[in-house]
Symmetry: C2
Amino acid sequence: MTESIKLLQGINWNEQGLVPAIAQDWQTGEVLMLAWMNEEALALTIEEGRAIYWSRSRQALWRKGEESGHVQSLRELRIDCDADTVLMKVDQVGGIACHTGRRACFFQKLEENAWRITDEILKDPRDIYGSKP
Amino acid sequence: MTESIKLLQGINWNEQGLVPAIAQDWQTGEVLMLAWMNEEALALTIEEGRAIYWSRSRQALWRKGEESGHVQSLRELRIDCDADTVLMKVDQVGGIACHTGRRACFFQKLEENAWRITDEILKDPRDIYGSKP
């Protein structure tokens, strides 16, 4: 991991040691989701060529797709001008990025002063994650 | 602003009262930048139909384009499944979103274990912002 860590020395982590990471479909350009990465997550993302986030709720590494199979294969990785945001172009395995079973997480659109759900559920989350007692 | 504020009651602001907001070119799908919004900024974005951020460095509202003229006209606004991230599709006035004078902020791409600058400067920042003594 030494090489990747060297690469990450210029990244401007926030007070929690995190940066936001945007996942974008490499073919359609659709923004699929935003999650967070710490230094280890970003280094592993580069090493393994798949999106690996830091789960703030679980306080643990989150290999996207580890439960669902909906892995995000890395096609391209960019950082912004301030080096405090990551943009990934990914190949979304299964065509489902969202834990609700939708293609992308941004399925609530502002219309006539209300949030309207624009995208259908492609797969029941119970079938994705199994039913947990 | 009352109507907009009502709309924003379900938003999950972070500890600083902010959410990340992604600006995406409404025509090309290019991700232009990520900045932050507090409740007032998001309400004003909706009211005025243009991207208004909260500048964390200046601790002030930031009407994108107020100095540069590079206003982002709002075409569509979405929130994600956890209601803690905003996605805007915008019409980028002047075709320049980045303060470096580039089209977008994500101009540093990972290639062969180094960050490579992929996008040219379209306008000298001194010509955008004027020279400040």
